[in-house]
Symmetry: none
DNA sequence: TATGAATGAGCATTCATTCAT
DNA sequence: CATGAATGAATGCTCATTCAT
């Protein structure tokens, strides 16, 4: 599980000429990783974690099977990188579509949900795949924070802010509410997939439900 | 996927007065199945679907490998039987703890949640395991209704009844609400496992959240 | 392979009241064996030796799985009994359709082939299944005479008789000719199955070919 | 059943001048396949199809279990490759030992039989194993032409040519004769194995029998 | 840095046979 | 004499990972 590989290639900002220790990842290397992650995303979404083999990912990425392990210690690490990427992407997506700072609770909830729904529309299945309960994945260890834990915490932080502004009932436990809200969002995907309805309708219903839950 | 293992269903040309045609499964057979299902439950809960091998189940059940396949066509069928059993059990559990018919929304929600929480306390992890998103399990087939779909629908039915009594806001879509409520419950398990809190506290918080969500 | 079972039930003629040693097989026992063999024949023909499980045979025969082993030491013994039965049946079939004793070579060959062809028409696939090369079946042992060896020898005996009458060239080795004739018959089944032709046509062609081969 | 193992056939977006597009299999890969096929041949001959496990083949070939499936989709595909190889080999063997073009029927038959007998002497059991009735092997599918069908057709073609030269009776159906000749050859192996005789003797006898059968 | 052939422990499943009833 | 549940060694095959090139 520990990454005993080549230097971590997240810091892409180093422009210094190789000072000795951490050589800047070559263009080729980054390109490989990008292709692998893109392929992994598609396959994890389409077939799920257990239905996707590293071989499939490598093949879809157009690289050799060994190259996969040049970038990820194992399959799980690759999945987590995918989930991380999706999370970051959603965050960026939110920042880009963020409109006005000071907003009412209703506006705030609606905007966040809009971001999630729009992202899901553009990237169908990605969030569901990334939220795959990790205890389904790994039998052991699992000390690392799971994506859905982080998301629940983020929702909790939002609730806390709204609470500070007096828009959310004071007797609500923010972290608890964060989990509940996340749960609502997760399961709603299942509803949307089966009921004949539109994204907008679901969005409105969910916004209303959340508001009601959060206010007295 | 269909269980063609059950007592022989071919031409039973018995001339006896049809006492049921399908000879009652022998005690031994039933006992085997019971043991296997009990072992399966424990292992699916402890290690998850993919972490559990038919071999492990057989061993834990104290039967031979082949006996497993005498009762279940394959691993997935065994898992579904486990999920079904859990569902039935929860239902029976509810019926046994059901107290008074006519109840307010708050009493109703609280009671149902109590049942779920108490069942989960007696059978830790069982509901979570049984709700394992089956599309994580089988990429194909899956025409059969998934446990969580059924549960969402049941919650939806409850909401509809409360709505009829005027206790739930009229503008709420019952099926949608059913999904949302199920989502809340599922995720709350994750909260309860991590936050330092008591079952009672979580129960109270969740009841309150649900009530707020359902009323105007 | 050795039959360490109940007394061999071929001698059905004993009418004596149990004199102590070889109790007459009960009606029930014989009926069981008959049913099993009938089922075995059908399945060996339809699915081949390796495609047929003792369980399948028992089920088709409407008896318990254990009953199979009451009559046959193992699957191979059952197959050999089936082959033996087919052989006997063909012989009886021949005797019943046997018309006139003194016959020319052409008449003789034609008659024997007629018997075989007619039997095959009434019992499609049985001879082919019974002739299954036994080295395909058992990896070891195989000291017992295989059905096709016996048939080759029978053809050889026929050739010898015709030779004695001066109808077959004197320089022909009867046993060799027996094998060759058997080979012709076996492969012709494959021809008949694929070429669009009638049984009669094939019969005529084969008779002609055999006659030519045997005469100078 | 199709071999999707061969070097990657997906989008090879190489811009190089198409030198074959499918990268030539590496030496190592070819060597592995060769070793596996060699081991498979020996084991199929010695123990038959059902007596040979992929595991045995891999072990005998000195490669890992998985390597077997890198080259063959399953056991049956491996067997068919073996049969195909034997067929090709026999053909090449024939071409190498082919002496003079214009030949009488007797010379022609004798030469072909010589080739087969000599090949069988150098490769004992190979032809018999390769001719294993495939319907004994696969109950389903089997659209591909079986080795023995092809051989019967080849013999048929030979008969047709001889017929054109007027050396074979005009009233003979070439394809029918092809099957009959193949049948003779197949069964003769069984005779040769049991009767105490020499290869040369059998060859002479069989040549004579075939000639007689084909001429008026 | 990249490759892809090779690996072998591991998996789900089968089936000829046994034995308690 | 009959039953059918039980057995477990064996089978065909997979797949995450390694390593020589």
């Amino acid at each position: 599980m520990t990454n005993n590989h080549a230097p971590d290639d997240t810091d892409t900002t180093t422009l210094t000429i190789d000072e000795g220790s951490v050589p800047a990842p070559s263009k080729r290397r980054l390109e490989s990783r990008r292709r692998i992650l893109a392929a992994a995303r598609q396959l994890f979404v389409e077939r799920g974690y257990h239905g996707t083999r590293p071989q499939d990912i490598s093949k879809a990425a157009g690289v050799g099977h060994g190259t996969f392990y040049l970038h990820f210690a194992d399959k799980l690490e690759c999945f987590l990188a995918f989930a991380e990427e999706a999370s970051k992407e959603l965050e960026m997506f939110g920042e880009q579509h963020h409109t006005h700072e000071a907003q009412t609770l209703k506006e705030g909830v609606h905007e966040i949900l809009s971001v999630i729904f729009n992202y899901s529309e553009e990237n169908p299945g990605v969030l569901a795949a990334a939220m795959t309960d990790i205890n389904v994945l790994a039998t052991e260890e699992m000390d690392m924070p799971m994506p859905d834990q982080r998301w629940a915490e983020q929702w909790g932080d939002n609730v806390k802010e709204w609470q500070a502004k007096g828009e959310v009932a004071a007797d609500i436990d923010p972290l608890f509410a964060g989990h509940v809200l996340l749960g609502m969002i997760r399961q709603v995907g299942s509803y949307g997939a089966r009921a004949e309805t539109t994204k907008e309708e679901v969005l409105e219903k969910l916004t209303q439900a959340m508001i009601r839950m959060l206010t007295d």
